[in-house]
C-alpha cells in the first residue's frame, strides 16, 4: 500500500468517525458499534484503529472529549463534534460525494 492510499484510507475512516459522532456523542467502543450498525455490517474496521483516528480528529480540533459516566455507571471517554468539526464534515462529505460520483462514472464507462 502506497503512502497516498494509506492517507486516503485514514481520511475515509476519519470522515466516518466524524459522521457517526455528528449524530450523538459516543465513547470509542460505541462508535465502533454504531459504525457497524449504520453500515449494516458492510463496513468492518479493526476496532483499535478508531483510537488513532479519534486522536487525530481531536488534535485537529474537530472533536472534543471528556470523561463521563455511562448508563450502567462505568467511566468512559465520550467524544463529541465541535463547530469546526461540523464545518469540516460538511466540506469533506461534499468532496467525498464528488469523488464517489466520479468513480462511479469512470467505472461505468466501459
Amino acid at each position: 500500500m502506497s503512502p497516498q492510499n494509506h492517507a486516503d484510507a485514514r481520511g475515509s475512516l476519519d470522515l466516518l468517525v466524524l459522521k457517526t459522532l455528528s449524530l450523538a456523542p459516543l465513547h470509542g467502543w460505541g462508535i465502533g458499534q454504531r459504525l457497524e450498525q449504520l453500515s449494516a455490517g458492510a463496513l468492518e474496521v479493526s476496532q483499535g484503529s478508531l483510537y488513532p483516528a479519534l486522536q487525530r480528529l481531536e488534535h485537529a480540533g474537530a472533536i472534543t472529549s471528556e470523561w463521563r459516566v455511562t448508563d450502567n455507571n462505568r467511566r468512559a471517554r465520550y467524544y463529541s463534534v465541535t463547530a469546526a468539526g461540523r464545518r469540516a464534515l460538511a466540506t469533506e462529505t461534499a468532496s467525498w460525494k464528488r469523488f464517489a460520483m466520479a468513480m462511479d462514472v469512470v467505472l461505468r464507462a466501459t
Partner: protein, 888 residues
C-alpha cells in the same frame, strides 16, 4: 487554527506525557471490557469473550505506538530532555550552580535596572510633536564665560515678525523661578513656576492629560488668569484629584484657575510644576521691571521650518541680535546666539551620567559572563568522563554542544529570573535615592519593554558564557579518556584563554573601581567646599502671608520685625534674621547688574551680574558670614537715613581695585540709571549661597531701605548644644500673625544636602557597581586559579617528588596568579586613563587621571586578586606526590 490546536495538543502531551499515555491505556481497556460484556451477553463464555474482544481490537501496542508518534515533537522533546538533564546535572553540583546563577543574576539585574532608567528617560519619546525639530535659543556674551542670558518678551515679538528659519516661535521664562503658590483654602506649597507665551504649548503640540493647554488668547493683558500644572504635580500634590479643573492656585496675590493637566513625562523647563501665561501673570517684583515685556527672562522655543538646519537658524538669530543691539543697554551688547535642540536641552546633562552607567553595566555583564564561561570551562574539564561516555555511546559533537548550551540557557534563565527580582528591588532603590531633578523620573518602571530587553540580555548572556566552553568541552579528543582513564591535558586554546579571561576581568574591575573612586572623591570635595557661612546650628523657616492680608509695606516690615523678636526670645536661640529666600531654593533669588562710583559705561558693561540679598539687621551675625571691613547693618539703617549697602569682596575689587571700598558709593543698574546710590558700609567674603559650585558676588541691602517685597524667610541660630524645636518656632511665628504660613522648615545642614543629591546618587550607584564587579573578579580569579592547579596536578606532584617544598609550590602558583593580575591591572589602568576623559563633566574637584586614586585602587585590586589566588595555591602545596605517581 488547526495547526495551533495541534501544536497545543502536542505541547500539552509533551508536558503531561505520562497522563496522556495513561488515558490512552484506560480507554482501550474500557473498550475491551465493553466488547467482552457484549459477547458475554450474547452467550459466550467470559474467558472466550475476552479473547475474541482482543482479536476484534487488533494489535493494541501498534495502535498505541501510532498514537504516540502522532503526538511527538522531536526537537521540543529533545530540548525538554536536555533541560531536565541539565537541571539534574546542576542539582548534583549545587555550589557551581549557585555561584553561576548568582553571578549571572547580579549582571542581569544591574543591566535591567539601568536599562529601565535609560528606557524611561532617554529612549522614550517626549510627548512633543517631532521634538527633534524644536530648538531652544538664548544669548551669551561673545567673549568669555559660557553664560546663559535670556532675551526679553519684546525681543520674542520682534523676532517672530522677521524669522524665516522658524515656522513658529514661543517664549518660556528661563529657569522656572521657584515660587510659592498658595492653594485656595489649604497649606502653602512651594511650587516651581514658569511663564510661557500663549503659543508655547500649541507649538510643541502637547496633548493635555486633562482639560486644555494654555492658548494664545490666554496670553493677553487683562485676560482671566489661568494656569496648567504638570502631571507629577497633579498626582503628588493634588492626589490625582478628579475635580482638579475646578481648583485655583493663588500666586503673587492673584487667583489662577487651573485649566489643564499636562501629559505624563512632560516637564520643560525641567522641574517646573506650574505654567502661567506671561502678560496677565508675570509679576512686577522689582521697580525696574514694571513693563514685563522688557524683562530679559525668556528663552525662545522655535519649530524649525522644514529643511532648515539648526546652524542656519542659529545664524539667523545671531543676525537678529546684532541688529537689535542699538536698542540695548551697554551691558547687553556684543551677544552671540546659542541654539540647542529640545531633546538635547532636556536630556543633555543626564545623558553623560546614564551613558557612563550603561557602559559600566555592560562591563559588569561581560565580567559576569566571562566568570560563568570560566566556571563552565572548569566544569567541562571535570566532566570529561561523562562527556566521553556519551560520545562513545554515539552522541555526535553537535548533540553534545547542544546539550552543554542548554545547560547555559538553564543557568541564564535562572539568573534572569533572580536578576529581575534584584532589579525590582534596585528600581525601588533608584526611586528613593534619585535626585528630584532627574528628568522624567516618573517614567522609570520595570515594564513590558524592559522585561523584553531583559529576556534578550539573558539569552545573550547564555550564548556569551556558554558557547565557547561548550565548543571547547566537546572537542574531538574525548575518546582519550576512555583509552587512558585520564583527562586529556587542556589544549592550547584553553591554556591561553583562561588567563586571558582573568586579565580581562581584572582590567574591567579596575576600570569600574577607579571610576567609583573618582566619583566618591568628587563628592567628598564638594562636601568640603567652603560655603562662606556657618551652616551648623542654623534652622531655616520659609513663610508667606496670603496676598492682600496686609497691604502697606510699613506694616509688613513691622510684622517681620515682630516675628524676629518673638523667635529671638525662645529658649536656646542665639540670633534671628530675615532673608528673601533660604539658600538653595533653586532660582528664588534676585540678580542685578551694578555700577560703582566713578565707573564708566564700558566698565559697567564688563561687571558681572550679582546676587542681590535684602536682609534683616543681624543677618551676617546669624549666618556667620565674616565682615572683612567696615560694619554690619544696624537698626539705624532705615527709611530716611543714608542709603547703605554691604558688598562682597569681589564686587569691591571689581569696582575699586586695590582700594578700601568703605565710604564709596555703588548702585544697581547702569551709572546713569534710575537706581539710588548706596554708600558701602561693609565688605564681606563670598558665599556659595545660591549655587554650590560657583561662589557668588553678593550685594546686600537692609530691608527698611528697599522698596520691594518684604523678606519673610527666617534664619535662626541656636546656642551650641541647644535644640530648638521647629514647632516652637512655628508657634512663635503664628503669634506674630495668625495668617503667617510656613512653607518649608528644617536645618541648614539638610538644605545643603539638596544640591548634592545628584553626585551622592551617582557615587552610591557606582559604589554598588564597584562592589559587584570586585566580587565577580575575585570569584573569577579564584576559579581560574583552581582550574590551573587541577590541570597542573601531575606536574606539581612530580616537582614535589623531585624535592620541591610545599612553600615553593605555593609561591610559584601564587606568582603566576599575581603576574596575570598585574597584566590585568596595567591594562585596566590604561583603559581607564583613556576613557575617564568622558567623565570630566561629572567629576568635580578631582582630576580624571588623579594619581592617588589610580594607585590606591590598583594596589587594592592587586591584593584582592592575590588573596583570591591564595586558597588554590595552598591547595597546590598539599598535592600528594605519591597519589599523583600512582596515577590517581
Amino acid at each position: 487554527m488547526s495547526l495551533w490546536l495541534g501544536l497545543r495538543a502536542r505541547l500539552r502531551s509533551l508536558l503531561h506525557r505520562s497522563s496522556t499515555d495513561d488515558r490512552m491505556k484506560e480507554e482501550m481497556q474500557m473498550h475491551l471490557e465493553f466488547e467482552a460484556e457484549r459477547l458475554v451477553a450474547s452467550g459466550v463464555e467470559p474467558a472466550e469473550a475476552r479473547r475474541q474482544a482482543r482479536i476484534a481490537f487488533g494489535v493494541a501496542e501498534s495502535y498505541k505506538e501510532e498514537m504516540r508518534a502522532q503526538r511527538r515533537m522531536p526537537y521540543a522533546e529533545a530540548f525538554y530532555r536536555d533541560v531536565r538533564y541539565a537541571l539534574r546535572a546542576l542539582a548534583r553540583d549545587r555550589t557551581f550552580a549557585m555561584v553561576a546563577v548568582g553571578t549571572l543574576a547580579l549582571g542581569i539585574g544591574a543591566a535591567t535596572v539601568i536599562y529601565s532608567v535609560v528606557n524611561g528617560i532617554v529612549l522614550r519619546d517626549l510627548p512633543v510633536t517631532q521634538a527633534e525639530n524644536v530648538a531652544v535659543l538664548w544669548q551669551a556674551p561673545s567673549l568669555g564665560a559660557d553664560e546663559h542670558l535670556p532675551v526679553s518678551y519684546a525681543d520674542l515679538q520682534a523676532y517672530r515678525g522677521s524669522t524665516r528659519a522658524f515656522s513658529a516661535l514661543a517664549g518660556v521664562a528661563f529657569q522656572g523661578a521657584v515660587d510659592v503658590v498658595m492653594l485656595s483654602g489649604a497649606e502653602a506649597l512651594p511650587l516651581a513656576v514658569t511663564w510661557v507665551s500663549g503659543d508655547f504649548f500649541p507649538l510643541l503640540g502637547i496633548a493635555p492629560a486633562r482639560g486644555r493647554v494654555l492658548r494664545p488668547d490666554d496670553d493677553a493683558p487683562g485676560s482671566e488668569p489661568v494656569t496648567v500644572i504638570s502631571h507629577a504635580t497633579w498626582v503628588n500634590r493634588f492626589g490625582s484629584d478628579a475635580a482638579i479643573l475646578d481648583r485655583t492656585l493663588q500666586l503673587d496675590g492673584r487667583l489662577h484657575r487651573i485649566v489643564g493637566v499636562l501629559p505624563r513625562g512632560f516637564a520643560f523647563p525641567q522641574n517646573v510644576d506650574v505654567w502661567l501665561p506671561v502678560l496677565p501673570s508675570y509679576p512686577a517684583t522689582l521697580e525696574t521691571s514694571a513693563d514685563p515685556s522688557q524683562v530679559m527672562v525668556f528663552d525662545l522655543v522655535g519649530r524649525l521650518t522644514d529643511s532648515v538646519q539648526p546652524e542656519a537658524a542659529r545664524a539667523e538669530f545671531d543676525a537678529f541680535l546684532r541688529a537689535r543691539e542699538t536698542e540695548r543697554p551697554a551691558a547687553m551688547r556684543g551677544m552671540r546666539a546659542v541654539l540647542t535642540t529640545l531633546p538635547e536641552r532636556i536630556h543633555g546633562e543626564i545623558r553623560t551620567a546614564l551613558l557612563a552607567a550603561t557602559a559600566v553595566v555592560i562591563v559588569l555583564l561581560l565580567i559576569a559572563c566571562l566568570n560563568v564561561a570560566n566556571l563552565l570551562l572548569i566544569r567541562g574539564s571535570i566532566r570529561t568522563q561523562e562527556l566521553a561516555v556519551r560520545s562513545a555511546l554515539g552522541a555526535g559533537r553537535a548533540r553534545i554542544v547542544r546539550q552543554l548550551l542548554t545547560e547555559s540557557f538553564v543557568l541564564a534563565t535562572c539568573g534572569g529570573v533572580l536578576g529581575v527580582i534584584l532589579a525590582a528591588v534596585g528600581v525601588r532603590m533608584i526611586f528613593s535615592l534619585a535626585p528630584p531633578n532627574l528628568p522624567q523620573r516618573e517614567m522609570i518602571a520595570l515594564d513590558g519593554g524592559v522585561l523584553l530587553g531583559t529576556l534578550m540580555i539573558t539569552m545573550l548572556a547564555a550564548l556569551l558564557s556558554g558557547l565557547l566552553p561548550a565548543l571547547l568541552s566537546a572537542r574531538g579528543d574525548l575518546s582519550l579518556w576512555l583509552r587512558s582513564g585520564r583527562a586529556s591535558p587542556p589544549g592550547a586554546v584553553l591554556r591561553l584563554l583562561r588567563p586571558a579571561l582573568v586579565v580581562g576581568q581584572v582590567a574591567m574591575a579596575l576600570l569600574v573601581v577607579i571610576c567609583t573612586g573618582l566619583f566618591v572623591r568628587s563628592l567628598r570635595s564638594m562636601q568640603q567646599l567652603d560655603m562662606g557661612f556657618d551652616a551648623t546650628q542654623l534652622t531655616v523657616v520659609e513663610t508667606m502671608l496670603p496676598a492682600g492680608t496686609i497691604a502697606e509695606r510699613e506694616r509688613m516690615v513691622l510684622l517681620q520685625e515682630d516675628a524676629i523678636s518673638r523667635v529671638a526670645t525662645l529658649q536656646g536661640v542665639s540670633t534671628v534674621t530675615a532673608m528673601p529666600k533660604p539658600p538653595f531654593s533653586a532660582q528664588g533669588g534676585w540678580i542685578a547688574p551694578f555700577s560703582g562710583e566713578s565707573q564708566t559705561d564700558a566698565q559697567f558693561a564688563a561687571n558681572p551680574v550679582v546676587n542681590l540679598e535684602v536682609v534683616g539687621t543681624r543677618y551676617f551675625e546669624t549666618l556667620g558670614i565674616p565682615i572683612l571691613r567696615g560694619r554690619p547693618f544696624t537698626d539705624a539703617d532705615r527709611e530716611g537715613s543714608e542709603p547703605v549697602a554691604i558688598v562682597s569682596r569681589s564686587i569691591a575689587h571689581r569696582a575699586w581695585p586695590g582700594e578700601n571700598p568703605i565710604g564709596k558709593r555703588i548702585k544697581l543698574g547702569p551709572p546713569a540709571g534710575r537706581g539710588a546710590w548706596h554708600t558701602v558700609v561693609g565688605e564681606t567674603g563670598e558665599t556659595r549661597y545660591r549655587e554650590l559650585l560657583t561662589s557668588q558676588s553678593n550685594y546686600y541691602l537692609p530691608t527698611r531701605q528697599f522698596a520691594g517685597p518684604v523678606p519673610l524667610s527666617f534664619a535662626v541660630r541656636t546656642h551650641r548644644e541647644a535644640i530648638v524645636p521647629i514647632a516652637s518656632i512655628r508657634s512663635a511665628l503664628a503669634q506674630a500673625h495668625p495668617e503667617l504660613r510656613v512653607v518649608s522648615s528644617g536645618s541648614m545642614v539638610e538644605r545643603l544636602a539638596a544640591p548634592l543629591a545628584g553626585p551622592r546618587f551617582t557615587a552610591a550607584l557606582f559604589t554598588t557597581f564597584a562592589i559587584i564587579t570586585l566580587l565577580l573578579a575575585v570569584v573569577g580569579v579564584y576559579g581560574a586559579s583552581s582550574a590551573s592547579v587541577r590541570d597542573r596536578r601531575r606536574e606539581l606532584g612530580i616537582r614535589m617528588a623531585l624535592g620541591a617544598t610545599a612553600t615553593q609550590i605555593t609561591a610559584s602558583v601564587l606568582r603566576q596568579c599575581a603576574q596575570i593580575a598585574l597584566i590585568g591591572c596595567v591594562l585596566g589602568v590604561a583603559l581607564t586613563w583613556a576613557t575617564s576623559q568622558l567623565l570630566r563633566n561629572l567629576i568635580i574637584g578631582v582630576s580624571t587621571t588623579d594619581a592617588a586614586t589610580y594607585t590606591a585602587v590598583t594596589g587594592f585590586v592587586l591584593v584582592a586578586a592575590v588573596v583570591a589566588g591564595y586558597v588554590p595555591a595552598r591547595r597546590a602545596g598539599r598535592v600528594d606526590p605519591m597519589a599523583v605517581m600512582r596515577g590517581e
